[in-house]
């Protein structure tokens, strides 16, 4: 398969260049080619110096110190040993010079995400790159951290580094880049000076047409559906501590927060995958800690898990059998095909073929199956954990619209997302989750971006 086809891209010293496109448009492949990790079948890459790359998922050795990570394989030596004092000083000076202060002796695993990113950046900066590639650099940063991160990047650019930011967040493109290149289906479809364009125009170019509108939210009375008190749960390394909140029937409650702040524990405990302590009442009747996913499904609790490939789908199976998973005992076996065709029609699954193998579908179409079956048959409570992660804009709008429609029809929806924009677009109320605790609650009327951002970053 061809991921990138006949693309020209020029980066200039002193400039932040944004590369945008939907999932699968070829941006990451292009960045990998520029870095030298992927060899192009045709064409050339030339750079006036070293090329550095900061990965979306940090490539740090968690058990090692900051300086050990930054200078890995480039350690200053004294005879046969590493000159730790010189190394420490070099990292300290480097941080000083770029305004990226980090304790060189800190163990990486003890650092918060924002600081880890600094370490990642310092490691590339020590190589004095002429070109720096940043792949989705703000994916795990709180809003405040994003602003300060881009301030650092702008400072780097001002010193003459050419910078490429690969991203899908258009607000950041507009706010921080000088030029933008838009990719779709492996080809460049537009280039702009950022000052000459807008987020709306870029979105249209990414999609290749008008961006569909989100479903309207109907005015409707809200009655308490789910009530949580002293709700604690642990799932892997994720922990939820002493949460108290409600979700109403006919209401979308957004859970804002940076990844790794208790979201998985929240979703898994509601799914019945992990036990919980405290009280959870659904429509006045307690959810039992030990009833498991089968019990939750019977109570009308449907969870859209974060990892659709492992937690939701059987990738080797066809769309028909995947479309009924979770309802396999509710729907008569003879009606599986009918149920699948209904879902395919309502969610515009492509190809519209119940016999297509789920693993062969695009991420967006896979997600439509997962969301479609969760919303089928009037669920009481829908827990949507990152329901639009890694899917294209058209599919994301469709998923969000169906969630809003479920709310309009009287379902309670708990929308757990790392994308603040998604929460602002869909939620009636917002809970902010930080370090496993609910740090604040907002209604649509009282939304305060700055305040939410600082709560997400863990500032009280």
């Amino acid at each position: 398969m061809q991921a990138v086809d006949g693309v020209d891209l020029e980066l200039f010293p002193g400039e932040i260049h944004a590369l945008v496109g939907e999932n699968g448009a070829g941006k990451s492949t292009l960045a990998a080619i520029a870095y030298g990790a992927v060899r192009p079948d045709e064409g050339t890459v030339t750079a006036a110096g070293v090329v550095g790359l900061v990965h979306q998922h940090f490539k740090l050795i968690e058990r090692l110190r900051v300086w050990e990570n930054v200078l890995l394989n480039r350690e200053p030596r004294r005879g046969l040993t590493i000159d730790a004092a010189a190394a420490r000083e070099r990292v300290r000076a480097l941080g000083e010079a770029y305004g990226l202060r980090v304790d060189p002796d800190a163990i990486v695993e003890t650092l918060p995400v924002g600081i880890k990113q600094r370490v990642e950046l310092l490691r590339e900066l020590d190589r004095e790159p002429a070109v720096l590639l940043l792949d989705e650099p703000t994916a795990s940063l709180a809003p405040g951290e994003i602003a300060s991160f881009f301030a650092t990047v702008a400072d780097l650019a001002a010193r003459g580094t050419a910078i490429l930011v690969v991203t899908h967040k258009l607000a950041e493109v507009v706010a921080y880049s000088a030029r933008v290149t838009v990719m779709r289906a492996g080809a460049v479809v537009a280039r702009h000076r950022t000052s000459d364009t807008s987020a709306e125009e870029i979105a249209r170019e990414m999609v290749g047409g008008e961006v569909p509108a989100l479903a309207a939210r109907a005015e409707r009375p809200v009655e308490t559906l789910l009530e949580a008190r002293g709700f604690c749960a642990v799932s892997g390394s994720s922990a939820l501590i002493d949460a108290a909140f409600t979700v109403g029937a006919g209401e979308i409650v957004g859970v804002a927060g940076v990844e790794g702040n208790g979201q998985s524990a929240l979703a898994d405990a509601l799914a019945g995958v992990v036990p919980f302590t405290g009280t959870l009442n659904l429509a006045g009747t307690p959810l039992r800690a030990d009833e498991g996913p089968a019990g939750r499904l019977q109570r009308g609790v449907r969870v859209i898990p974060q990892d659709r490939r492992h937690e939701a789908l059987v990738l080797d199976w066809n769309v028909r059998d995947n479309a009924v998973l979770g309802r396999q005992r509710v729907i008569p076996f003879a009606r599986y095909d009918e149920a699948a065709r209904e879902l395919i029609a309502r969610f515009d699954v492509r190809p519209p073929n119940p016999d297509a193998i789920a693993g062969m579908l695009s991420g967006g179409n896979q997600q439509k199956i997962v969301v479609g079956r969760a919303l089928a048959g009037a669920p009481a409570l829908v827990v949507a954990y990152q329901p639009t992660r890694g899917i294209d804009i058209g599919a994301a709008i469709l998923v969000q619209s169906r969630l809003i429609e479920a709310r309009n029809a009287g379902a309670g929806v708990l929308l757990i997302s790392f994308e603040l924009d998604e929460i602002f677009a869909c939620a009636d109320r917002i809970l902010v989750l930080a370090q496993g605790r609910i740090a604040g609650t907002f209604t649509r009327a009282t939304i305060d971006r700055g305040r939410i951002g600082s709560l997400m970053a863990g500032h009280p």
């Binding site: 996913p293 089968a294 939701a312 789908l313 080797d316």
Partner: protein
């Protein structure tokens, strides 16, 4: 990757591997034994198909492999490596032989009783690792492997110790009354009603796996356990049920050997059917209908192997060698594929 994708895979490459192994390695072994492969394979096919009785014996071997292979397939489809079919088959055979000789009944009751006894004993032996897996998360590979040894030793102890025949040195139960014996299908052969029973079982199993909610849930548990769990499927219960059914089929196979071929339980009733059946199940892609085809192919090797030794002087071990290589080639792919994905 699911176990089915790793172990099965409906690729022509797999068939090619099997054919190359059987004929290539088989020929090589024959050349080492100073026999022309043409003569060797000629004797093998002649032994398997030469006469009416030999064809019947080929089908007997097919049947003996088919029961445990179907059982293995059900466990594998549920994501469980049941390699304990041999022990389950031996205990099934023992229960059938012992109970059949104890209780005199008319034929309408005696044959079903013997077969049900074997099914229950095999099922119970399969349930043990299923329970250990469901309750404690114990690895079923190790449990079933060890229970094989225990089953054979237990049966050996029983027929030589507490249940030993007075005045007989043989490790066996008394001869079954005629009423408890399965009827012959072909005169002067050991081919009995067990063969059609196995075929019906294959079709039934295929139907259950593909056309019932039970089969759907069992396959989900095997193909995507995390997704299955979140869909309300109890993985522990599925493991217990799948292992029980798996053992029951192998046990039924043991009972048909006793009731149809030997007419008594003998500790040597299986030349490793439960192990060869693993290769049969894998070559059959864990699909009951293809397993029938695979069981027939291995049945040819089994029955022809004896003739090959007698007529062409090729050691029968060549058949074991080829069978072993097929298992290694197909199961080894799992290791390779796992490495690639991690």
């Amino acid at each position: 990757m699911t176990m089915r994708a790793l172990l099965g895979g409906r690729t022509t490459r797999d068939l090619l591997v099997v054919v190359v192994l059987v004929f290539g390695v088989g020929s090589l072994a024959m050349l080492l034994a100073h026999v022309s492969p043409l003569d060797g394979f000629g004797a093998l096919f002649d032994g398997a198909f030469g006469t009416r009785e030999e064809v019947a014996e080929t089908l007997v071997q097919t049947t003996n492999l088919l029961f445990p292979a179907l059982g293995i397939a059900i466990a594998f489809r549920a994501g469980l490596f049941n390699i304990g079919a041999e022990g389950q088959l031996v205990l099934g055979g023992f229960a059938a032989g012992w109970l059949g000789a104890q209780i005199p009944l008319p034929a309408v009751l005696a044959v079903p009783m013997v077969l049900i006894a074997g099914t229950l004993a095999g099922g119970a032996w399969g349930a043990i690792p299923g329970f250990l897996r469901a309750r404690f998360g114990a690895n079923e590979v190790i449990a079933t492997l060890m229970l094989n040894v225990i089953a054979v030793l237990l049966a050996t102890y029983l027929v030589n110790g507490p249940l030993a025949l007075p005045g007989s040195g043989a490790s066996e139960t008394p001869t079954l009354p005629h009423a408890a014996q399965l009827g012959d299908l072909v005169a002067n052969s050991r081919l009995t009603w067990a063969f059609p029973i196995a075929l019906v079982l294959a079709f039934a199993l295929r139907w259950v796996l593909q056309r019932t909610v039970f089969g759907y849930e069992l396959r989900a548990a095997g193909d995507a356990p995390e997704a299955a769990k979140r869909a309300g499927i109890d993985l522990g219960r599925t493991a217990l049920v799948a292992m029980t059914l798996s053992g029951a089929m192998a046990g039924l196979g043991g009972a048909t050997i006793v009731a149809g071929e030997l007419h008594r339980f003998n500790t040597g009733l299986s030349p490793g059917y439960g192990f060869i059946a693993i290769a049969v199940a894998l070559v059959g892609n864990l699909d009951p209908l293809w397993i029938v085809v695979a069981a027939f192919a291995f049945g040819v090797l089994q029955s022809g192997g004896i003739a090959m030794q007698a007529e062409a002087g090729v050691p029968r071990d060549v058949v074991s060698l080829v069978t072993g290589l097929v298992i290694i080639a197909l199961a080894g792919r799992r290791v390779v594929a796992t490495r690639r994905t991690t």
